[in-house]
Amino acid sequence: MYGVINFMSKYIRIVLHICALLPLVMLFYDLGYNNLSVNPIQDITIRTGKPALVLLVLVLSISPMRKWFGLHSLLQFRRSLGLYAFMYASLHLLVFVGLDYGFDIELLRSSVFKKPYVVLGLFAYLTLVPLAVTSTHGWIRRLGKSWKMLHRLVYLTGVLAVAHYIWAVKSDIRQPLIFAAVIFVMLLARVRVFNQVIYLLRERFFTK
């Protein structure tokens, strides 16, 4: 598997870029062809937020995939996934501030704090900024060991983003809870005891 992923790496990367950009392309298509609902700003907000969350979950899943299934070569795709998540999150924020609130700082200030989900979303975004900035090879080198520590911040991003989602829906939180459950499993992957159980199971059932 390890070899296969490396061998196919170029193609996987192309597929990754296409898949990651697809939601944006479809959004522009629907914008251009007037396929959005009569409440287009809400549509655009949702359709930039969701991909950000999905990509974030994919970023978080790389580490467990390596630990539990030995798919170490997936690591090479993590930065791209993370940066795409950041791109969608940035668009999501920009749509909220610009389209929804027309860059009206006064209006934003008076209503943001009355909408806790907005505050949560904002914090989620703020944790993502330093990660995006320090994602280059230069920064990885410069920060050395502390780079790894810093980038564990992405777990906080995940928790905040899911909380933001749960907090924003009207009543039916089933879908946000699925995201929450997935992120919870990703967090478990950082718990040593849990990993040892997984290794044990793997050895028992899957050793050749």
């Binding site: 009569v38 409440n39 027309g102 209006l107 008076s110 209503s111 009543s171």
Partner: protein, 312 residues
């Protein structure tokens, strides 16, 4: 309490031109709406070809009616779909005829009303109302209908009647959303008797002079313009006069978020989001939400001694 007739609140030249247009171009449609409101035209699934869009009026605050396409294609009607844009398609084959409403409970003359009876017994009039959804968007809708009070007078509530309880059709085959156990079906809503008797409160049977479409709550729905949209229950089959405050579907789903009163109020926030601004469908910016959705003058006497923060 004063009656708002559209002739009083719409600038006369617009009103007249609208009348003229309606009486010429759409006499057939209007006639059909009043006479056979229950027999929905089965060929009218494509609502975009409607001719009325050219004759848009304004409400008493000078705001244009929301386009017919928007009203007919952006619907919160969970019985069909939780996706507002899918409701219209899902509702296409909803059977609205024959249709009957049982009116009972604490009344002297309980009765079963056929849709035809409601349309002939009570004069249908046009009421242009703002509709503010709890989600933060709003529309201006030219309804056709009649004051609920007329029906209540007919059945004569007894001395003990204090509330009115409304119920939507329960039919999981036609209303597939009712298979979803997350909510307690059927949809139930309630009003205090004085709210229900207020002249602004109507039972609507049409929009834009046309028969109500299923996605808008056909064949008959409640419209309470000073309350959030979810109070205006759709496709009603039961109306009961009761002595206890009814528990609505939304109160059951999230009691700390959706109260019995649900009056539009920019000063009383939903626990998780502010209610002080809204987006009018068809506009890009936000506008301030008005106390009682702009009907404060007519309805604030109903709540004179009440803590609206507590009775949200």
């Amino acid at each position: 309490m004063q009656t708002i007739r559209s002739s009083e609140i719409t600038p006369e030249h617009i009103y007249l031109s609208r009348r003229k247009f309606m009486s010429s171009a759409s006499k057939v449609v209007l006639g059909a709406a009043v006479m056979t409101a229950c027999s929905r035209q089965s060929d009218s699934t494509d609502v975009s070809l409607d001719v009325h869009n050219t004759s848009v009026g304004v409400d008493e605050l000078g705001d244009s009616w929301t386009s017919y396409e928007s009203i007919a294609n952006y619907n919160n009607f969970y019985e069909f779909s939780v996706n507002k844009e899918r409701v219209a398609t899902m509702a296409q084959d909803f059977k609205t005829s024959p249709w009957e409403i049982d009116v009972g409970g604490l009344v002297k003359n309980p009765g079963r009303y056929r849709m035809e009876d409601l349309l002939t017994k009570f004069d249908q009039e046009e009421r242009v109302y703002r509709l503010r959804c709890v989600e933060g968007w709003s529309m201006v809708v030219p309804w056709m209908g009649f004051p609920l009070k007329r029906l209540l007078d007919e059945v004569e509530p007894t001395m003990n009647a204090r509330y009115v309880r409304f119920e939507t059709l329960y039919d999981p085959v036609q209303l597939p959303g009712q298979n979803d156990g997350w909510y307690s079906w059927p949809y139930v809503e309630g009003l205090r008797l004085d709210e229900a008797s207020h002249d602004l409160t109507i039972l609507a049977t049409g929009i834009y002079g046309r028969t109500l479409l299923p996605q808008n709550g056909a064949p008959v729905r409640l419209v309470v313009p000073w309350k959030y949209g979810f109070k205006s229950i759709k496709s009603i089959v039961r109306i009961d006069l009761v002595d206890q405050q009814p528990v609505s579907l939304w109160m059951r789903a999230a009691p700390n978020e959706y109260g019995f009163y649900a009056n539009v109020n920019p000063n009383v926030h939903h626990p998780r989001w502010s209610q002080d601004t809204e987006r009018r469908i068809g506009e890009m910016g936000r506008r301030d939400t008005l106390l009682f959705n702009g009907y404060a003058e007519q309805v604030d006497s109903l709540y004179s001694n009440m803590d609206l923060q507590y009775n949200f």
